[in-house]
């Protein structure tokens, strides 16, 4: 669960205030709104990547998957297992899970290809898998459908529905179809005082 209590974030020289804002476990919350309304900024503040004032209660580990996939100079597979490696977890315990999601996202054919030579859609899918493979408590997805085709969005919808019961998922998006498909809670930004 994530709880924002009188949080102030500076965004483009404007201070955006968030009063008593709660994101619950088992729910997918969408943050929508026009460009420049501060969706990414809010997610980055929750991920503790940017400075903010006020209190953000984070119960558990928060991971952030950015709109532009930042994959490391490794293969797709090495990128996906990176969070497991740094936690020194036994990768064999995760093989079934990796195989299942890799097949779902149709990454199996390019699993050992250098990540940076893959298409942006493939990189986005690998970036999402890397973000969820170690089962974080909170998953933040910033505009995840931007680089994805319709089939990939359907796969992502299926995946998120499957994992949401154990996670707090917050997604910034203005993809109406995607929101309608998955939406539990929707916050529309626009007014800087939510």
């Amino acid at each position: 669960m994530i709880n924002l209590n009188n949080v102030n974030i500076v965004f483009s020289d404007v201070v955006i205030k968030y009063k008593d804002f709660t994101f619950k476990k088992g729910e997918i919350t969408f943050i929508s709104g026009p460009n420049g309304s501060g969706k990414t900024t809010l997610l980055k503040a929750i991920a503790n990547i940017i400075d903010h004032k006020g209190e953000i209660d984070r119960n558990g580990f928060v991971t952030f998957v950015s709109q532009k996939p930042i994959l490391f100079s490794k293969t797709i597979y090495q990128n996906i297992i990176y969070p497991l490696e740094i936690r020194k977890l036994d990768i064999s315990n995760y093989e079934n899970r990796i195989e299942k999601y890799v097949k779902l996202f149709e990454l199996d054919k390019i699993l050992h290809k250098k990540a940076k030579s893959c298409s942006s859609g493939e990189q986005m899918k690998a970036s999402i898998l890397r973000g969820i493979i170690f089962e974080p408590d909170v998953l933040l997805l910033d505009e995840p459908t931007t680089a994805l085709d319709i089939k990939s969005i359907e796969e992502l919808t299926k995946l998120l529905n499957e994992i949401k019961k154990d996670m707090t998922i917050i997604i910034s998006s203005h993809d109406r179809l995607f929101i309608e498909e998955l939406n539990d809670v929707l916050y529309e930004l626009g007014d800087p005082y939510v």
Partner: protein
């Protein structure tokens, strides 16, 4: 003239003249050693400057970027003054050691500056991503080295190109002494001033061929840079 020089270049190489090979060996050794030494310091300073925040950082960066374009002859003059001044106990003028020092100083800002420019943005994104995946400080350092590797090689190529091609600094501090401190570029300058243009161009061709061979070897480590 060009045709004549190509024949002259071939003759120079085939003559197995000890002086020519000594000149080539000295030039390559100096440029490679200066580049590799500057690489060690440049990568360290580059990553340190780009990944930390301190007072005067902008000024330090401006200074490094200014020194990236310093004319070799000006740097040579600076090293010359140092050698006859405070560094007198360390270096003697007209020696290979002081030539190495001058080339090292010439290449250092090029490598440091390029590491700063190329890694600043990448580092920020990579480190942020690693942080949100739970990476420790040590994990982030390891990742940073891997992610900066292509830029390190690119900086090395630029540094080596600068070192092998410069003439002003080695001429000033080395003195272009036959069988001692003469390099390929000072040989070219000397032949040119004596009106022996075909020898100048011939050595120039050899220099370009060697640079091409070294770049081809480096390209094996980072093919995409040349694509």
């Amino acid at each position: 003239m060009i045709q004549e020089s190509i024949v002259e270049a071939f003759n120079l190489l085939m003559s197995f003249d000890e002086e020519i090979y000594q000149i080539i060996f000295l030039s390559l050794t100096l440029a490679l050693l200066a580049t590799l030494t500057a690489l060690v310091f440049g990568v360290f300073f580059g990553i340190l400057i780009s990944s930390t925040t301190f007072k005067g950082k902008r000024f330090v960066k401006k200074l490094i970027f200014t020194f990236m374009g310093i004319p070799p002859v000006v740097l040579g003059l600076f090293v010359l003054l140092l050698t006859i001044g405070p560094l007198d106990p360390v270096f003697n003028l007209f020696t290979v050691q002081v030539m190495f020092f001058a080339q090292f100083l010439l290449v250092l800002p090029i490598i440091t500056g390029n590491i700063i420019i190329s890694s600043e943005k990448t580092q920020k994104e990579v480190l942020e991503t690693a942080e949100t995946l739970g990476a420790s400080r040590m994990d982030k350092v390891k990742l940073l080295i891997v992610e900066t590797k292509p830029f390190i090689l690119m900086s090395m190529i630029l540094g080596f190109s600068r070192a092998i091609s410069e003439v002003g600094a080695v001429m000033l501090v080395g003195g272009n002494i036959r069988y001692s401190t003469r390099t390929m570029t000072t040989y070219i300058a000397r032949s040119n001033s004596m009106g022996d243009y075909s020898k100048s161009i011939a050595m120039g061709i050899i220099l370009l061929i060697l640079a091409f061979v070294i770049h081809s070897i480096l390209a094996r480590f980072r093919g995409d840079f040349y694509d």
